[in-house]
Each structure stands twice: as structure tokens, then as C-alpha cells.
């Protein structure tokens, strides 16, 4: 692992909202070209952490560095694709219009814009519904459109907050295949999830509970270390549950 470049470096990061501490002293390096899964129950602090990485929040203590530069920075934001937990879409516009708008924000125009839009819509299998208004989309379709928007400007780092919520198993599989393709292109992906079976598909995992990073490793390592057959069991062990 060490020969690989560090893409994201989280150093001594803590975050509190008033008295409520959401993240406690997190240290984590994520390497270029890996799919890193952040696993934990809702309310564990996953979203807060990825928001900080996307530049939407700042830690109370410590610092987050992307590509060896401190976040938040407008330069870095261009290199990141972010997909929020809630679908941030303009419902009164069509999918294509949403994509056009967001691609213009990243300076994509004309021919290049059209190509990128076709590409990402194909990837999330929405090409046939591009001219529909987003308000007529189902939950899963909106999720996929959000993903398409995050991929639009070909970012080097993708931060995806619960990308597969509300998506059926078949499509979920195809989306994870897409993730693998992106990884093959050399991109780095950070994916949060609380679905344990998705965790197995990540290269490495970080388990988060109550704002603490309780374990980091490949799924195999984590299972081996705890003598468990599933990630879920491993999580329970790290979380201090009786077995």
C-alpha cells in the first residue's frame, strides 16, 4: 500500500456542534485509486466527515488535506465530485437541463458538454428519460441522476454519500460495476453506506461509530482480525458487543 500516493489525508479531525461532539480525533489516509467505504450506523458522523472533505464544512480541530492541499479550497473543489445524501435536484427542470446547468458551473460547454452528458446518463441508465421533468422521476432515478451529476466533470476524487439508497439490487449491482470501472480509470472513490453487504465490495473500509473511527482495513483483514465471517459481525466486535 505504501507505494501508492495518498489522496485524502484526515489529520486529528474533531468536530463539534456546540456541546455535541460529532467527530472525535479521526486520523485516516485514503489512497489514490481505491474504493474506500465509510461504514457505520446513521448518526455516526459519516456525513459530517464527507461534507468536510467536500469543502462544505470545516473541522473544529485538525485538518483535511486532499491531494496534499488543505481543504476547503476552490481549486480542490473542481477535482472533487460530490453526491449528497439528499437529492439536490431542480425538480421543475428536466434531467438534461439539470445536467446542463451543473456542467456549465464546471465550465463544460458545447460539444464536450453534450458528450459528457450522454456518457454519464448512459452509465446510470437514464438515457431514455433525459427529457423528463425530475419531478416525474422515482426515488431511485433521482439518486442515479445525482450520481450522474457528480460524475459530470470527470473528477479525480468522488465523494458519494449513501449513493445506493432506494435503488433495486439489479441496478445496485450495475452501479457498483460502474464504480469498479471508475476505479480502473484511476479515480478514487469514497462511499458511505450502512448496508453491510456493500462493504465487501470496497477495497478498504473505515468503521465509524459515535464519531470515532473504530477500525480501518480491507474487508478480509477486518474479518480475519475479529474471527468473523461477515463484516457485520466484525463491526459488532469492534463496537464492543458481546459475542
Amino acid at each position: 500500500m505504501n507505494e501508492r500516493e495518498v489522496c485524502v489525508s484526515i489529520r486529528n479531525v474533531s468536530k463539534s456542534f456546540g456541546k455535541h461532539q460529532v467527530l472525535q480525533n479521526i486520523n485516516l489516509d485514503i489512497y489514490e485509486g481505491e474504493i474506500f467505504g465509510l461504514l457505520g450506523p446513521s448518526g455516526a458522523g459519516k456525513t459530517t466527515l464527507v461534507k468536510e472533505l467536500a469543502g462544505l464544512d470545516e473541522p473544529t480541530e485538525g485538518e483535511n488535506c486532499l491531494f496534499n492541499e488543505k481543504m476547503p479550497s476552490l481549486n480542490l473543489i473542481k477535482r472533487v465530485g460530490y453526491m449528497a445524501q439528499s437529492d439536490a435536484l431542480y425538480e421543475d427542470l428536466s434531467a438534461k437541463e439539470n445536467l446542463q446547468f451543473f456542467s456549465e458551473l464546471y465550465g463544460l460547454k458545447g460539444q464536450k458538454q453534450a458528450e459528457h452528458i450522454n456518457e454519464v446518463m448512459e452509465l446510470v441508465q437514464l438515457s431514455g428519460d433525459a427529457t423528463k421533468l425530475v419531478s416525474n422521476y422515482s426515488g431511485g432515478m433521482k439518486r442515479r441522476l445525482s450520481l450522474a451529476i457528480a460524475l459530470l466533470h470527470e473528477p479525480e476524487l468522488l465523494i458519494l454519500d449513501e449513493p445506493t439508497v432506494g435503488i433495486d439490487p439489479v441496478l445496485r449491482k450495475s452501479i457498483w460495476n460502474a464504480f469498479a470501472d471508475l476505479k480502473a480509470q484511476g479515480k478514487t472513490l469514497i462511499v458511505t453506506t450502512h448496508v453491510m453487504d456493500e462493504a465487501d465490495k470496497c477495497d478498504r473500509l473505515g468503521l465509524i461509530r459515535n464519531g470515532k473511527l473504530i477500525a480501518v482495513g480491507t474487508p478480509a483483514e477486518l474479518k480475519k482480525e475479529t474471527n468473523s465471517s461477515t463484516i457485520e459481525e466484525a463491526f459488532l466486535v469492534y463496537g464492543g458487543a458481546e459475542r
Binding site: 476552490l74 421543475d92 446547468f101 456549465e104
Partner: protein, 342 residues
């Protein structure tokens, strides 16, 4: 350019939302039309009763402009008065005339009194003083209430509807998470505010032109100055409303809370904008009018529309309005730091 992308999107959304466009353009037109009919209705014809008035005198009373009925007894007249079929009656007892009025509506009471004062035959005067000639510096004998209120109301309705629509649409941007999504893109904070100002500004230009043209050319609102100045004032006022709406939407969690700003922020502006004579407002309160953008717009609009003022006369008011606008833009950018520091 990124700002243009935002402008394009805002206009696209507006065009698609036919109902909102209708509200922004036709609601002010509808309300102004109704006000036109309310203020420019015919003069009120008072209903007057005469009790025990000697025939000789009754013949001399000019009954023109009133509906006059004679009664034999006061009891009868009183009954009619209580049933609101009479506005007042005149009785003469022991050669002293006295008047009893219904008195619940001040404007009716005023009209009745005015009529009664003019109705009696004037005593022949010792020296014949000629009636004074009347000249108007501004306005004319034909200028009605509507012409005086009109410019202020025109400004107010544009202010009100732009404030509401801009506020709600920015609020939606926040609550649906798209604002956060915008901030996760390389868009700068000032670009977001600029996009909103330009997008809505373009639309407001069209809206103001239509409404102003309607008020002046269809309703015949008094117009002494140049149309372009009126448009300029309204446009700057609309931009002030827009930036204020966006700003206040940051302090609302939903549409209902946005509405709650109307009685606090919008309605008081009507009272302090000069719709009613400001000199009669208690002195300790009058400073408020200098804090309301509408006050400066109303002043400038009246100067142009009623007094035929030119650019030099309204420039100060325009600058103050623009100052409000810039102030709100500045605070808006600062407030957006809540979401992203840079």
C-alpha cells in the same frame, strides 16, 4: 460564465412556473385596477332628512347633490337614521337649526357636513369679494386620491411580490439541498448572489414595464415626468426587494415562516412610505420611515409622476435605494459563509 448558467436556470424555472409569473404580473395589475375603481368612484350622495323646516326655507335649500326627504316628526327621522337609511337630518326648533348625524362612517359624515354647509342660502354680503383664482404648482383640480396614492402603491406592489417570490425561491434552494450542492461546485458565493440578482432582475424589468405601462396608459395614473425614470426607480426598488427577500429567507425554515416576514417587514413599509402623510405620524416613530427602502422609492416616484421631476431630482433617492441593495447583497454573501467558508 458561471453566473450566466445560474441566470439561465432561474429564468428557465420562472418561465416554467406559469402561476408564479401570473402572480408577479397580473396580481399587481388586478389590485391596482381595483384601487382605481375604489378611489375614483363617484362622489358620495348623502341622504338628508328635513324635520319641521318651514317651507319657505326648504325651497331655498339647494337640493342638488343629495337625496332630501322631508319628515313631519323627529321620531320618524330618527327611526330612518337608526336604520341607516338617512345619514343625517336637519331640524329647526324655535328658529335654531340643529343637525343630527348617523356618524359611524367618517367619510359619510364628512360628505354630509360638506353638503349641509353649502346647501344653506348664503346671506347677502356687504362687499362683493371676487372668488380667488386657483393655480396649481403641481397636479390639477382633476387629480384624485388615486393619482396621489398610485405611485406609492405601484412601488409597493412590485416590492411586495418580488420580495415574496425571490425569498421563497431562494428558500427552496436551501431546503432542497441544491444550495449546498452549488457550494460543492466551484461557484463562488458572490456569483450565486449575482446570478439571482441578474436572473430576477431581468424578469423584474419586464414585469415592471408591463405594470407601470398599465397603470399610466390604461388606468391613466397621473404622469408628469418621463416613463424611463419611473422604470428606473421601480427596477432599483425591485432589486432591493429581491436582495432583502433572499436575505430574510436565510432566517426562515419553510415557506410559512417566509410569510411571517410580511407583517413585520412588508406591511409597516406601507405606513411609513408616505402613502399617508408622514408629518402626522408621532415624532418618536417618524425615524422608521428613513429605514424603509419603500420610503425613498415612493418619494422619487411621486416626484417624477406627480411633480414631473427630472433625473437630478431623484438621484439622491436612487442612490440611497442602491445603497440598501448593496448592503443586502453584502450581508447575503456573508450569510452564505455559514455553508462554505471560502
Amino acid at each position: 460564465m458561471r453566473v450566466l448558467a445560474l441566470v439561465k436556470r432561474i429564468l428557465r424555472q420562472l418561465v416554467r412556473d406559469k402561476r408564479t409569473i401570473g402572480l408577479l404580473i397580473f396580481a399587481p395589475i388586478l389590485v391596482l385596477t381595483m384601487l382605481y375603481f375604489v378611489f375614483n368612484g363617484d362622489d358620495y350622495t348623502p341622504k338628508i332628512g328635513l324635520v319641521n323646516v318651514p317651507e319657505m326655507l326648504a325651497d331655498q335649500i339647494a337640493t342638488e347633490g343629495a337625496q332630501v326627504t322631508t319628515f313631519k316628526t323627529e321620531v320618524e327621522a330618527m327611526k330612518k337614521l337608526a336604520a341607516q337609511e338617512l345619514d343625517g337630518y336637519l331640524k329647526i326648533e324655535d328658529n335654531t337649526p340643529s343637525i343630527v348625524l348617523e356618524g359611524s362612517d367618517p367619510s359619510v359624515t364628512g360628505a354630509t357636513m360638506k353638503w349641509l354647509q353649502n346647501a344653506f342660502p348664503k346671506p347677502p354680503q356687504a362687499i362683493d369679494i371676487p372668488e380667488p383664482m386657483i393655480d396649481y404648482l403641481h397636479g390639477s383640480i382633476d387629480m384624485g386620491q388615486f393619482d396621489y396614492f398610485g405611485p406609492v402603491l405601484l412601488g409597493f406592489f412590485v416590492f411586495f411580490f418580488v420580495f415574496l417570490i425571490a425569498g421563497v425561491s431562494f428558500l427552496r434552494e436551501r431546503t432542497t439541498g441544491t444550495l449546498e450542492r452549488l457550494l460543492a461546485s466551484p461557484l463562488r458565493k458572490w456569483e450565486i448572489v449575482a446570478g439571482y440578482v441578474l436572473g430576477f432582475g431581468l424578469f423584474t424589468t419586464i414585469q415592471s414595464t408591463i405594470i407601470t405601462a398599465y397603470a399610466i396608459y390604461v388606468l391613466g395614473m397621473v404622469m408628469e415626468g418621463a416613463f424611463i425614470y419611473v422604470l428606473l426607480i421601480i427596477l432599483i426598488l425591485a432589486l432591493t426587494a429581491l436582495t432583502l427577500g433572499i436575505l430574510l429567507s436565510s432566517f426562515a425554515h419553510n415557506e410559512l415562516q417566509m410569510m411571517q416576514f410580511i407583517p413585520i417587514v412588508v406591511v409597516p413599509q406601507i405606513f411609513f412610505s408616505g402613502l399617508f402623510n408622514l408629518e402626522t405620524i408621532a415624532e418618536w416613530l417618524s425615524w422608521i420611515s428613513h429605514l424603509t427602502p419603500l420610503y425613498y422609492a415612493a418619494e422619487a416616484l411621486r416626484d417624477v409622476m406627480v411633480r414631473g421631476a427630472g433625473f437630478g431630482d431623484i438621484i439622491i433617492n436612487l442612490l440611497i435605494l442602491a445603497g440598501f441593495c448593496l448592503l443586502f447583497i453584502g450581508i447575503n454573501i456573508a450569510v452564505l459563509s455559514k455553508y462554505r467558508k471560502i
